[in-house]
């Protein structure tokens, strides 16, 4: 910063006052400049972050001809319905949407419930082999899921679960990361006294879990569930490997298949509409849950 130091004259002369006020004005000016630069930078990043969304949304309402000849505009076009028609005749996007919704919802529920159950079991009870079992979980947290996909495919083939949604849903019962997170969460949100007092009141173990523990773990479970939903909604690799028939396809698979379609170049509006359909639900979920989620990401940073 500026190192200029203005000496204050002993006598309160006018000139010195003028100097001071002029200097103050300069500082104001410079501050304004700095603020302008900073906000311009933020604005630029903001644009970069949302511009692809914006292009997708706007272009999903325009026809392919307008997109390729008129470039970008701010005004939405009037071809939304037509794009929708083209998209749905060429791609199974609506069934895929519901497939994705079904898989993601079930994954979310299963991983949330069973992870809470498991974390609770690990936290509350002292049984033989507990530390060993938890150690196993920790170890396998480091094994990337991609590592096992070939074995998984072969195994599902033998089980007859290939090309079924089950093969994508069931593994979420054993969501290692979620269990790990919830076990840490539970130790700060659930006191043992509470469980013991419920026992004294005569509640059964499962009843205690459902009526007392689960509601108290609610926020933690909710956070991980939203991440589970987003992860499952966006999952491409394992869906592509497991699912093969058109009727089972998930949204990312259909989106990926757009690349190989004739409409990729010719009916760009429909392609963009496909993107929009895959993006909008997740963004809506996020906007509602953002405060919550970001705080939890942040909390993770501090603990980590």
């Amino acid at each position: 910063m500026d190192q200029v130091i203005i000496r204050k004259e002993k006598a309160e002369d006018v000139e010195s006052n003028a100097k001071v006020s002029k200097w103050k004005i300069n500082i104001k000016k410079r501050k304004l400049l700095v603020y302008t630069l900073i906000y311009a930078f933020l604005g630029l990043l903001l644009l970069l972050s949302v511009i692809p969304f914006w292009i997708v949304l706007i272009n999903s309402t325009r026809d392919g001809f307008a997109i390729s000849t008129q470039g970008l505009t701010i005004r939405p076009g009037r071809s939304l319905a037509e794009n929708y028609r083209i998209l749905t005749t060429n791609a199974n996007i609506i069934p895929a949407f519901f497939n994705s919704l079904k898989i993601s919802t079930l994954v979310t529920i299963l991983s949330g419930y069973f992870s809470a159950l498991t974390a609770y079991g690990f936290h509350v009870y002292k049984f033989k082999g507990k530390n060993f079992l938890f150690g196993v979980i920790l170890l396998f947290m480091m094994v990337p899921s991609q590592m096992a996909f070939l074995g998984y495919v072969q195994w599902m083939t033998r089980l007859g679960l290939m090309d079924t949604h089950t093969a994508l849903i069931i593994p979420s019962v054993a969501a290692i990361g979620t269990v790990f997170f919830l076990r840490a969460y539970i130790s700060s949100s659930l006191s043992r006294d509470l469980i013991e007092s419920a026992r004294i009141d005569g509640a059964g173990e499962l009843h205690i879990f459902h009526r007392i523990a689960l509601p108290l773990m609610g926020p933690g479970v909710a956070t991980m569930s939203i991440f589970a939903f987003i992860g499952s909604w966006n999952n491409y690799l394992s869906a592509r490997i497991i699912l093969s028939s058109k009727s089972q396809e998930t949204l990312p698979m259909v989106i990926a298949s757009l690349r190989a379609m004739r409409i990729w170049h010719q009916n760009q509006g429909a392609i963009y509409l496909g993107f929009a359909i895959s993006i909008v639900p997740i963004v809506v979920v996020f906007i509602f849950a953002s405060k919550y989620l970001i705080e939890n990401i942040s909390a993770g940073a501090i603990k980590g």
Binding site: M1, D2, Q3, I5, I6, R7, K8, V20, W23, K24, I27
Partner: protein, 363 residues
Amino acid sequence: MAKVTLKNIAKIYDNGFQAVKNINLEILDKEFMVLVGPSGCGKTTTLRMIAGLEKITLGESYIGETLVNDVEPKNRNIAMVFQNYALYPHMTVYDNLAFGLKIKKTPKDEIKERIERTAKILGIEPLLKNRPKQLSGGQRQRVALGRAIVRKPGVFLMDEPLSNLDAKLRVQMRAELIKLHNELQTTFIYVTHDQTEAMTMGSRICVMHDGVIQQVAEPKTIYNHPANIFVASFIGSPQMNFLQGRLSEKQGKIFATIEGLELELNEEASGKVKEKNYAGKEVMVGIRPEDVYLVNDNEGIQSKAEVSELLGCNLHIYFKINEKQYTLSTSPKVEVGFNERIFVSFDRDKLHLFDKETEETIL
């Protein structure tokens, strides 16, 4: 020369909150000035404005003869000790002390020499290689002080530096800080909410409330001549008792009637009352617990002892008059039982009289 002068300083936050309203304060060179007041009174904000950590909204601030309103903190020739010490967690104690000097590109030998000397003063030589995490609260406190000392600043700013220590350590550090001030011969500006700290350490005390300075004076003056009800109640423990009183003039003498007890004021007080024309008016009478006596039956106001606390050198008795609770402090030899009937009277020379409206002192 490290005189600090605040002229009509005010701090208004963006949300419109006025943390500090028009403060004028001159802190002399080598003075130990304590800013004291309840939390939210603006004392910390004032200190931070002196440090340059907060922008001054209105007014002018000088360090020495220099207007520092827009001077960066680093160029103000100050050092600051923070409430939570603010030690750099990833640096050793040595590096913590050296940080400011390194930035100023002080030669290495000199840094070493200065740190060693400082460490000696504070008795932290064995800790130099440790990290803050490995230190106890008291040790951290010393390191934080050391970091300030090592820079040889013109002004020391301290923001509640003792508040995170346990009671015993706090008393010990208090004495050390006074010693340190004497040794360093530098201006200290010290912020605290603890009136005991203020009374014991400050060469002068500035009592603040609601962003306004209530009184600036030496500790003794503050205690004996509080400028208003706020200062009177804030300084002193147990708190001063306040009672409704009525002044009356009888044959040129001024009497104060308190709960039926009539006391004649001394000459000095009487003079002030007459001069300010308070005779015949309702006033607020303040009396410190140590100036309340137990008297023989029917020689004072009748009351009932509710609780008594033995503090060792003193005995505090809580009693009620007209449903309001008051305190008196007396010798521990006195024995008063629970719910025992007592009679109290006041030292007429130690009465504090305050205007009921303005709450300013009359005397």
